[in-house]
């Protein structure tokens, strides 16, 4: 009995600080606004934001689908491109000499600032423009981290594979790729939040009217701040859902990591 009680506490304990912190932050926010700014004009209380979220759920849900599509497709394309470039760079010296400086140069460009230009290229209403912003922004962290993971391999493990007369591709598959997975997932978590930011900010400049970015700018323009905040909340929920998805994927793709952590 005592054992199961301990187990219960153990399985709840990681969530407890989060729940407490949530109560303190949002409770304090709500309380402070009730005391000091009963109008809740510029910063609406959390209760108004949730109310707007629920009341306009159809609009918000439609926007989540539109923006979520941009985020997910842009993210997948950026991740595939970044990981593929990392593989090419570690495999071929020429690839390294061409791609790495190019990637560094592109990363130095403020990508978000290109959103209006991409709109001109792809057409303001086409999803391509915003997908491109997400792709380019996601590419770099994935590329850099995966390259590091593919190269930071113990020298003796490579020698061992060479002693077995294993070819370069086989070494990549058996040693470099598994070694790069933790680096890749760290980058993926980073890339996910970047993708959400990139998609919403890109929508400030163009794209469909029923997307999160446009709801935020339009609502703020009409001083309907609770609606703007409801859209921000929806964006946060997309980011959180993707984060959870990555955690689950990590658990399945790298069982040896999870097991080592929990023991």
């Amino acid at each position: 009995m005592k054992g199961s009680g301990n187990q219960l506490t153990a399985s709840f304990s990681p969530w407890l600080p989060v729940v407490v912190a949530g109560f303190v932050i949002f409770g304090g926010w709500e309380l402070a606004l009730t005391i000091y700014n009963p109008d809740g004009f510029v910063l609406p209380p959390p209760s108004d934001i949730v109310a707007s979220f629920v009341d306009n759920f159809d609009v918000v849900w439609q926007a989540v689908k539109v923006t979520g599509f941009i985020i997910v497709t842009g993210l997948v394309a950026g991740v595939v491109a970044g990981a593929a470039a990392a593989l090419i760079v570690t495999r071929f010296r020429l690839g390294d000499e061409i791609i790495t400086p190019l990637a560094v140069a592109v990363n130095a460009v403020p990508i978000i600032a290109l959103a209006p230009i991409f709109n001109a290229w792809f057409g303001s209403l086409s999803p391509r423009s915003n997908q491109a912003v997400v792709l380019v922004l996601v590419f770099f962290p994935i590329f850099i981290n995966t390259t590091r993971g593919l190269s930071d391999v113990e020298a003796s493990q490579i020698e061992l594979m060479e002693s077995y007369a294993a070819g370069r591709w086989r070494i990549t598959r058996e040693v470099r790729i598994p070694n790069a997975l933790p680096y890749f997932f760290t980058a993926l978590e980073l890339a996910t939040s970047l993708a959400v930011i990139a998609a919403i900010v890109a929508e400030y400049f163009g794209g469909r009217q029923d997307a999160l970015g446009n709801i935020i700018t339009n609502s703020a323009g009409l001083t309907r701040y609770d609606d703007a905040w409801a859209a921000v909340l929806a964006g946060a929920l997309i980011g959180f859902a993707l984060y959870l998805l990555i955690q689950v994927a990590e658990h399945f793709v790298m069982p040896w990591k999870t097991r080592a952590d929990s023991s």
């Binding site: 113990e154 003796s156 493990q157 020698e159 061992l160 060479e162 002693s163 077995y164 007369a165 294993a166 086989r170 058996e174 040693v175 598994p178 997975l181 790298m254 040896w256 990591k257 097991r259 080592a260 023991s263």
Partner: protein, 261 residues
Amino acid sequence: MSSEPAAVTISGVSQVFNPGRPNEVRALDHIDLTVATGEFITLIGPSGCGKSTLLRLIAALLPLTGGEVKVNGKQADQARLDRDYGMAFQKAGLFDWRTVARNIELPLELMGWSKTDRRRRAREMLDLVKLGDFAGNRPAELSGGMQQRVAIARALSFSPSLLLMDEPFGALDEMTREHMQAELLRIWAETATTVVFVTHSIPEAVFLSSRVVVMSPRPGRVADIISVDLGTRQETTRESEAFFKKVTEVREALRAVERLS
């Protein structure tokens, strides 16, 4: 003269790193050495004497810059492609993403063994290194000495005729180390493998090998070869008069090497 070729024949090997550049280093200079089949030989010497380089030349993991290295009568690189040798390093170098058994199976996978044959052999090897209960464990769950035993099992899994070891017990504590030495000798006797073993420990070299090759640094040369005839090794061997005499002999040879350099 036996018609069977020696396990390893090294003739006139000189190894130069970064030739023609300002950081050119002559790592080995005119090395001649023959290792007989079934022999246990150790390479010992101060750091920079090129003992690890010599081991890597036997393994054909480095491009040879001068002389000739033959393994089982073949060019070293051909022997590598034929998987004539197994190798173990100071770092066990086990793959975290594979279970203990699947680490041992790795070379067998590369050689295209069937799954059932791989399973059976991994089990046999785990029994040989007395880790039969750990087949399904992750390497991270094993102690340093156990990991090194898995590495040895992996190196021997495909029954190579030659085992190359680069300070495999260098990172272990003294008691584990002595235990591993005894285990290695037992495995060596059971498998009739030729062993070339790099170490910087004098007692280890004397306890393990039938011949100790003492090397001198900058450039690496063979300074002396000391035969060790202590019969079948037991734990009492370490405390015997004959053992101490050999340890002293190797130590003096190493001192002479340091005086020269």
